[in-house]
């Protein structure tokens, strides 16, 4: 029903790059699901129903990965055989580790104060956006996968922090 050998970009007919036309991705994903979704094969044979389910699962997984910039970047690096999490990767620069500590302390200090948390979330958003811009440059124009992997590791931390601030806000709201 679909070619399972294609990579996620090929599956949706998209160029192999980080900066993506999200509207095109969504359109292509929906087009694909319209053809393969199990709802289209309720009356079909067992074999067809099975392959419909597999194709639909594949489309969902590929869409999930390409939709989120961090997952997309990891996937691109994986395609280029760069190990983001592996032990071979370079250690994080000490400034960033220090910055991590600062962020953590700031979140702890703001713990139950929604205004402080919201303020933190805002400045974090700025930092995250800057890092994504840098990541895009490194991946798409400079082809510098080693430094792109650094950006990804930074963003992993920052995104996790964003989650934690969200959790803290939810607790403060409840």
């Amino acid at each position: 029903m679909i070619n399972h050998k294609q990579n996620h970009f090929e599956l949706f007919g998209l160029p192999l790059r980080f900066e993506l036309d999200l509207a095109r991705l969504e359109q292509s994903y929906r087009g694909l699901q319209s053809r393969v979704h199990p709802d289209r094969f309720v009356q079909a044979s067992d074999a067809e129903r099975r392959s419909s389910m597999q194709a639909s699962m594949r489309a969902n997984e590929a869409y999930r990965i390409l939709k989120h910039p961090l997952a997309r970047a990891c996937y691109l690096l994986e395609l280029r055989r760069v190990d983001v999490q592996g032990e071979s990767s370079a250690p994080m620069p000490p400034e960033f580790l220090e910055r991590q500590m600062e962020w953590r302390e700031a979140v702890e200090d703001a713990a139950a104060r929604p205004e402080a948390l919201t303020h933190l979330a805002q400045s974090l958003r700025g930092e995250i956006e800057a890092n994504y811009a840098e990541l895009a440059r490194r991946l798409d124009s400079e082809g510098d996968v080693a430094h792109a992997a650094d950006s990804v590791r930074r963003l992993m931390f920052l995104e996790r922090l964003r989650e934690e601030i969200g959790d803290a806000l939810e607790r403060a709201d409840a």
């Binding site: 929906r30 199990p38 709802d39 309720v42 699962m57 969902n60 997984e61 969200g166 939810e170 409840a174």
Partner: protein, 622 residues
């Protein structure tokens, strides 16, 4: 020569023949059946013109079974054999049923699901539900004049795997071909969206008789995409009745009530609740078995006061669903109200306050789910021409995972993943020569197994003996379009395989399930600490085992003093690992690491030496 084409019986059909399919809303309080007639979804009434079938089943000793209004009229007289709100027991053990002691039933705890002892024998909730479905099926076949090709049955979006499986089983037991289990808020969104040509982001707020769901959907030309769902599988209009009932008992202070009196007062409470949706006050009047008269008046204000905490319980799930969808309140174009309980003014007000807009009530909240299910059944039965149909993308409500060392959950499929979905995760063995692996499948949001619902346990056997960490066991989770899970495990090097369709065991109560997600936020910090502690313990045990094994093989490489020092360090590590101080375990681990360094180096030398002498390096594994 052309071969004659022979269709299988029942498979052939004329090109434009309409295939009879229905949508069924199997509700806690009421059930309905609907179908498409000349392109319009309609609810099918019974011979007396009733659309709603009360979800009540009465068993008699003579073998007769009454369903709906005839059963309802016997409710106060024969509460023990007249089953109401059976949906609350679907896929649930006795421990899971909230307020079981207030139910007048003779419960029988049994593995997997609670059963009910009636004068007509022991009945499972699946059987009771099937009675309701059978009546709806007969109603539909009489109205449509033929046998049904299939049915779409709706379930609360927040139903877990056990509850979904039980619902599908009930459908099959009633002789229905279940085309799909459809989430109730999604069904409502289909009916609403098609009716209003709606586009944009919609929230569906569905408070039924016994369950609460909130779903966030994006509607755009031809696609209904669920972005996130949340809820409480044990919150509904019944709970509001119960609060009114408690208020009545508190005010009137009657002598201890019989089952019959309790049933009478609960019915009076429900009537008062319904009256208060449209009037400033309601009179509650009932003559008890003792002859005592209860006569009270409840105002809307009092009603709102005694149910305030229940209303509050709907707010957090709605907020969480929005957050999971990655949206703010401002992004929501409309809020569709579903379920009879949303008629209550305090609910309308709370929803308006939360979403900062008046909720949409232009479809009958009792019927909208059945109508949506009928529309989807029509599509699935193949009655729509290509291009005149739409795509429905739904999600799984709760995360699915596996138990790993130390009682931790390894999440395999995150909540709110679009279904169908498959995910594989690799695991390895913990001990040298381990030939079997226990696989424990859980559902929920907490990081510890004890906080999640246990769905199934199975074993992968026949793993060839290998060094710890060498086996590669790939566990694959698969959730189909009905939201039902199956799990398989395979060892990569040998191809040994084990598969289960998850027929869930019961574990947690409804309330606990609901709490799981709510607590997951509150306990995120506790969980993280418990997780870190457990990880250190696992690490400590691994170290103890491997050093002990190494000593058994090569203790001769150490001097007596060195050996004593290593043993002392191991003892300290053992003591630390039994305690709950993470830092102490870390320090003890560090000490063992340091003290065994020369030992490890000498073992390495020896193993290289032996390998060169023709022995296998693997035999020398540290």
């Amino acid at each position: 020569m052309a071969l004659l084409q022979i269709s299988e019986p029942g498979m052939s059909r004329a090109p434009h023949q309409h295939r009879l399919a229905v949508g069924i809303d199997l509700g806690t309080t009421n059930s309905l059946v609907a179908t498409m007639r000349s392109g319009i979804a309609v609810v099918l009434n019974d011979a007396d013109g009733h659309a709603l079938l009360p979800s009540i089943v009465r068993y008699s000793a003579d073998g007769n079974t009454a369903v709906g209004y005839p059963a309802q009229s016997e409710l106060a007289r024969d509460p023990r054999n007249t089953i109401v709100s059976v949906k609350r027991f679907m896929g649930r053990g006795l421990k899971d049923v909230a307020n079981a002691e207030n139910c007048p039933y003779d419960f029988l705890d049994s593995p997997g699901m609670v059963q009910l002892r009636t004068c007509a024998g022991v009945k499972s909730p699946v059987e009771v539900s099937a009675e309701i479905l059978r009546v709806l099926r007969a109603r539909a076949e009489a109205a449509l004049g033929g046998e049904l090709v299939g049915a779409v049955i709706t379930v609360p979006a927040y139903f877990d795997d056990a509850q979904r499986q039980a619902t599908k089983d009930a459908g099959r037991l009633a002789g229905l071909n279940v085309l799909r289990l459809l989430n109730e808020p999604t069904a409502a969104a289909i009916a609403y969206g098609l009716d209003n040509a709606a586009e944009g982001v919609y929230a569906v707020f569905d408070l039924g008789g016994g369950t609460f769901d909130v779903s966030i959907l994006r509607l755009s030309k031809g696609v209904f995409e669920v972005l996130a769902t949340n809820g409480d599988p044990a919150l509904g209009g019944d709970d509001f009745d119960h609060r009114v009932y408690c208020w009545v008992v508190e005010q009137a202070r009657p002598a201890p009530l019989s089952d019959e009196d309790t049933r009478l007062l609960l019915t009076a409470a429900r009537e008062a609740k319904e009256h208060l949706s449209y009037h400033a006050e309601a009179r509650i009047s009932a003559r008890l078995g003792s002859g005592d008269l209860i006569d009270l008046t409840m105002t809307q204000k009092t009603f709102a006061d005694v149910t305030r905490t229940l209303v509050q319980k709907t707010i957090a799930p709605a907020r969480k669903a929005l957050r999971d969808a990655g949206l703010t309140i401002e992004a929501v174009n409309g809020v569709v109200m579903v379920g009879g309980a949303t008629r209550m003014p305090q609910i309308q007000q709370a929803v308006a306050d939360l979403f900062k807009q008046a909720p949409l009530n232009n479809l009958d909240p009792d019927k909208v789910v059945a109508l949506g299910a009928a529309i989807q059944a029509d599509v699935l039965a193949g009655n729509r021409a290509a291009g005149d149909d739409w795509l429905l993308l739904d999600v799984n409500p709760l995360s699915l995972g596996l138990e790993t060392m130390g009682g931790l959950v390894e999440r395999v499929i995150a909540r709110n993943s679009t279904i169908p979905v498959a995910k594989a995760q690799d695991f390895t063995t913990f001990k040298d020569g381990q030939t079997a692996m226990a696989i424990h499948v859980v559902q929920g949001e907490r990081e510890l197994v004890s906080g999640c619902r246990s769905l199934a346990r199975f074993e992968l056997r026949g793993i060839p003996p290998m060094a710890a960490g060498a086996a590669r066991i790939r566990v694959t989770f698969q959730v189909d379009a009905d939201g039902l899970l199956s799990v398989s495990a395979r060892e990569a090097t040998s191809g040994v395989e084990a598969t289960v369709a998850v027929k869930p065991s019961y574990g947690l109560s409804d309330g606990e399930i609901a709490r799981m997600l709510q607590d997951s936020i509150a306990h995120a910090a506790d969980d993280a600490q418990a997780r870190a502690l457990n990880e250190q313990r696992v690490e400590a045990n691994r170290m103890l085992e491997s050093v002990t094994a190494a000593l058994a093989a090569d203790a001769d490489l150490l001097t007596a003093n060195e050996l004593d020092a290593v043993k002392a360090a191991l003892d300290q590590l053992g003591v630390a690992a039994a305690g709950s101080d993470r830092r102490a375990i870390m320090a003890a681990l560090e000490r063992v690491n340091k003290i065994t360094e020369p030992f490890a180096a000498r073992r390495m030398d020896r193993s290289i030496h032996r390998a060169l002498a023709g022995k296998r390096l693997e035999d020398m594994r540290f």
